[in-house]
């Protein structure tokens, strides 16, 4: 699709901060994303769910170009994603990401993990970045861990540090890639609570998660994916009460007990 095509789409959905239009992606011969069309409105929360291997992680990883797509357009806050590294970095400065395995930098203390991005990528003075880092650590309720190293923290604490690290770039959009899947059960809620607060504060969020309680509580739209396609998308009430597609019904019956 051409550049002008994406501009038309911009006019078509002026409030959408993320637009995906006819996005296809292959891993080798494997068609992992098939004709993805998705708009995310400013301040809205999208929950993406689906069986493993359905392409849901790949989908959100395309939004900050951790994966590249082969066909279609992805526009993030007015920037069309191309192989141009400057455009990619522009988008990445606006998009925070939280990973399943936290991916904190183990050789840096918590506070250094937080300040590294803003100081290097946005040339923020170290002292200002540290002040903001302490505030964010209070917001995720672990101010006392600032000088520790990631290896000294529990999984739940590490994931909250990872959320704070992503917030340090003052992102317009937050991507969550199964943020609670690697956590012990007793730590899931402390992370979900932070995410819920973030949603209540008006952050635009795209969450890949199997936490259906969280989806019910905060999502504006629940997207169900299977085999690389968006199978169904509906507000949570309708999605859980009256799923239309058979595949959605099967998935929900397996995941909800």
């Amino acid at each position: 699709m051409s550049e002008s095509g994406s501009r038309d789409d911009l006019e078509g959905a002026p409030d959408a901060i993320v637009q995906m239009r006819g996005v296809h992606k292959w891993f080798g011969d494997f068609h992992v994303l098939r004709d993805i069309n998705l708009n995310v409105g400013r301040g809205e929360r999208i929950v993406v769910c689906g069986p493993s291997g359905s392409g849901k992680s790949t989908l959100i990883r395309c939004i900050n170009r951790l994966e590249d797509h082969q066909e279609g357009d992805i526009v993030v806050d007015g920037t069309l994603l191309t192989p141009d590294i400057r455009k990619i970095e522009t988008v990445r400065r606006k998009v925070g990401m939280v990973f399943q395995d936290f991916n904190l930098f183990p050789h840096l203390s918590v506070i250094e993990n937080l300040t590294l991005g803003p100081v290097l990528a946005q040339h923020e003075p170290q002292t200002e970045a540290e002040t903001r880092a302490v505030e964010l650590l209070e917001r995720v309720r672990i101010p006392e861990q600032a000088r520790k190293y990631p290896g000294q923290l529990s999984g739940g604490q590490q994931q909250r540090v990872a959320i704070a690290r992503a917030l340090m770039l003052r992102p317009k959009i937050m991507l969550f890639d199964e943020p609670t899947s690697a956590l012990d059960p007793e730590m899931i809620n402390e992370v979900l609570d932070v995410m819920t607060e973030l949603a209540e504060a008006g952050m635009t969020m795209i969450c890949v998660t199997h936490e259906m309680g969280f989806a019910r509580k905060v999502a504006d739209l629940v997207v169900f994916m299977d085999e690389g396609e968006i199978v169904e998308a509906a507000p949570p009430d309708a999605f859980f009460a009256n799923p239309e597609n058979e595949r959605t019904k099967l998935f929900l019956s397996q995941i909800l007990h």
């Binding site: 170009r65 925070g96 991916n103 183990p106 946005q122 190293y149």
Partner: protein
Amino acid sequence: MTARSAISSAVPVASPRRLPPARERGVVRWLRRNLFDGPSNTILTVLALWALFVTIPELVRWAIIDAVWHTDDPQRCREAAGACWAVVAEKYRVMLFGTFPYDQHWRGVLAILIIVGMGIISAFKRFWSYWLFAAWLAATAVVLVLMLGGVLGLEPVGTHQWGGLPLTLVMFLGTVVGGMPAAVFLALGRRSSLPIIRALSIGFIEIVRGVPLITVLFMASLMFPLFMPEGVTIDKFLRAQIGMTLFFAAYAAEVVRGGLQAIPRGQYEAADAIALSYWQKTSRVVLPQALRIVLPALMNDIIRAFKNTTFVSIIGLFDVLRATSTAIQDPLWVLYAIEAYLFIFLLYFVFCFAMSRYSEHIERDLARGRNL
């Protein structure tokens, strides 16, 4: 549901915490377990003890009891039945400084102190940063000024006059200080997505790894000048230095690459996600972790680089070993070469053992999963 089994059971208790039961200790137990564990081990132990019994007293007699420690008269050594350590006291200036001008030896001493001092500072983790590398560059510059002279009122000394321990240490220092960045760039280049850079890195590493160090040195000293235009000469020491550095870089590059491969993909992605550029990601996230992982293996290469400096003697440079063999050609003292070589052996051992212990210490820290 079927009937439950009545066999499984568990007993809830309230049991207080206490220390583990005392273990058996004692010398006899240790001896039995480690030295006399079965007939074959007992035989080996007895044989080893016998060998020690035969050699140790003779060695002690030769090296200590009957040894001559101080004399400037080789005749006294000839009369004694033991080692002649006096040769070291007599010849140490030539052994340690070779052909370096005698009245300028203090400059060599300072160069040695700077290099050893920097080595000790580098052993402390609190000093680990890119600043430390800058400090090494500065130390290298100071050492070169000291050794070469010609500025600040220092008498100029050409590299053809260098010799002994300062030459060995400067060669070693240049090899590591120049070779480490080269190794890092080669390792990064080998993993680069740019095909030409990757091909050049692979080509260089494989070619250099495919030839012996002696060949590299002969190339540097004999063949390289043939390729140079008329009238252009490059200092022999510098040519050897470049050869040593490139040789070290090719080996160390493969070690560093191993470290790069050990960094999980998630670290790269997390750095990408916070919008770091390639060089920011490499210098602040990937390399600090990769170099920590491979430090013990790198120390192995560094120790080998130290010992490899002895090879430069074959192209006519007077490193500490060559200087020693020259020193004991004095017909008065030529009989006591063994003592002189033992002294140099001790010198090499002290340097290498210190580096080896240091590497072991780091390995222990890594095994504990500590943040270095």
